[in-house]
């Protein structure tokens, strides 16, 4: 990593939600949520569909404004001021509910475009290199429209990782991934954690990646019902709230 620029992994941003509420008309998606996530934590966000996990993640990504309450990102340095949204986005990578990819562009073109928007030097090289671990190099020049669900998901993950984010937000990232893909995801998250990145990952079912969690938060009906805290028993909450995998499609079949 270059020593001159501030590396994203060093900044160590904490995320705090204070009395955050999100309403869409008369539907309350998040009710008075207060939460603080320290840098380096791996938070598993579990709960049924519609419990508010996606809303929470989108708010952490600064995609969604809270209806009331505050979301703040702060440096570990004491007494530093809260950062501006433009600076925060430098550190965030996200895998959303949708792929956020352009079907009419190729895998390489998609990554190159997002690399440019992140201000990365040499976007062509970075895009080509990012495809390799995702196993998509052979299909680099093919349009995303021709990709299977699993391949799109891998590309979406590769895109989120392009700029070495120090905060990674994942909304059901294992959905659509085959066993290899899921293993790659877990491995990637594991190495990312070693660089001190913060990960918030939502899941309604259990997966390999979820085993890396150091903290678990359970949600229901937009309310935070359980929080293991940074040192608590994350496993217990995950096992209780996340649906077990009842069967696995073997891609070899």
């Amino acid at each position: 990593m270059s020593a001159s620029a501030t590396t994203t992994a060093d900044t160590g941003l904490s995320i705090s939600f204070t009395d955050v509420e999100k309403r869409y008309g008369s539907h309350v998606a998040l009710r008075r949520l207060s939460l603080k996530i320290a840098p380096g934590e791996f938070v598993a966000l579990v709960g049924a569909n519609g419990s508010g996990k996606t809303t929470l993640l989108r708010m952490a990504a600064l995609l969604s404004r809270p209806t009331s309450g505050k979301i703040q990102f702060q440096n570990a340095i004491p007494n530093s001021e809260a950062l501006a949204p433009a600076d925060i986005k430098l550190h965030i990578g996200m895998v959303g509910h949708f792929t956020m990819l352009y079907d009419e562009l190729s895998a390489e073109e998609n990554l190159r475009f997002f690399a440019k928007l992140s201000g990365l030097d040499n976007p062509d090289r970075i895009a080509a290199e990012a495809l390799i671990p995702a196993g998509l190099s052979p299909r680099a020049k093919d349009l995303v429209r021709t990709f299977s669900r699993g391949m799109r998901q891998r590309l979406a993950i590769a895109r989120a990782l392009l700029a070495d984010p120090s905060i990674l937000l994942l909304d059901e990232p294992a959905a659509g991934l085959d066993r290899e893909g899921a293993a790659w995801l877990a491995q990637t998250l594991s190495s990312l954690r070693k660089t001190g990145a913060t990960v918030i990952m939502s899941s309604h079912g259990q997966s390999e990646a979820l085993t890396l969690a150091t903290r678990a938060i359970a949600m229901r009906n937009g309310t935070l019902i359980e929080d293991s805290g940074p040192n608590g028993n994350a496993r217990a909450i995950i096992e209780r709230e996340a649906a077990p995998i009842t069967g696995i499609w073997d891609s070899a079949q």
Partner: protein, 231 residues
């Protein structure tokens, strides 16, 4: 090993979005071809509705042209934001560490470019079908077309962002666009009509109105456009 993300200047981000818009459209050309055909159909159908003589065409042609362009635009501008909804790519753009105005500006310039391409086909077709010679005033006419089209693209792109968040968006965009664009329409038709007259001239007052419109609404897009990208 990558270095971390760095903030991107407004110009670079706008250009990146602009290039992406062009690249996506040039894959299939579906929007451009449908818009060109639609505009041609409108111009063609005018002859049945109005049955203009050669003298009529020179008088009313300016109006036909701008109305055809306005309606074609209001159909063509909507996809610039509705396309971004399919895979939630708009969220990806908002997530990027760029000035939100880059998203709007990039699309604005791309829409402007596409509309100019439509005009490159529309104008000769109009000239031929209605026997209205354009070559004599082509320089000044080009200036008027560019100024007018930029205004439509500016307001139209912002309103496309608005309409994409409402229901009935295909009907809503023309409904929002046409009343606001009235001063531009008057100025553009007026200037074009003066250029197509027997003694062609370019009335600077109309050019001033167009320039004022473009500047004012581009600034308004810069000031207020970002709010439309929130959730």
């Amino acid at each position: 090993m990558n270095q971390g993300a760095k903030s991107v200047s407004l110009t670079r981000a706008t250009f990146a979005v602009f290039s992406k818009e062009l690249r996506v459209e040039f894959r299939s050309f579906e929007l451009l071809t449908s818009t060109i055909v639609f505009a041609l159909v409108v111009v063609f159908v005018f002859s049945f509705a109005f049955n203009p003589s050669a003298a009529d065409s020179r008088r009313f042609g300016a109006g036909f042209l701008w109305i055809a362009l306005l309606f074609a635009s209001s159909l063509m501008l909507q996809p610039s934001f509705t396309r971004e909804r399919t895979n939630d790519t708009l969220a990806a753009l908002v997530l990027a560490p760029i000035d939100p105005f880059a998203i709007i500006a990039g699309k604005l310039f791309a829409n402007f470019f596409f509309l100019v391409l439509v005009e490159l086909i529309l104008l000769p077709a109009f000239s031929v079908l209605y026997n209205v010679p354009l070559l004599g005033v082509i320089g000044q006419l080009a200036g008027v077309m560019l100024l007018g089209t930029f205004g439509i693209a500016t307001v139209g792109t912002v309103f496309a962002a608005i309409a994409s968040q409402a229901r009935m968006r295909e009907l809503l965009l023309p409904l929002l666009l046409v009343p606001v664009v009235v001063p531009l329409l008057i100025a553009c038709s007026g200037a074009t009509m003066a250029l197509l007259a027997d003694t062609p001239e370019l009335p600077l007052s109309w050019v001033a109105v167009m320039a004022c419109f473009d500047l004012m609404f581009f600034t308004a897009a810069w000031l207020f456009g970002g709010y439309l990208l929130e959730e």
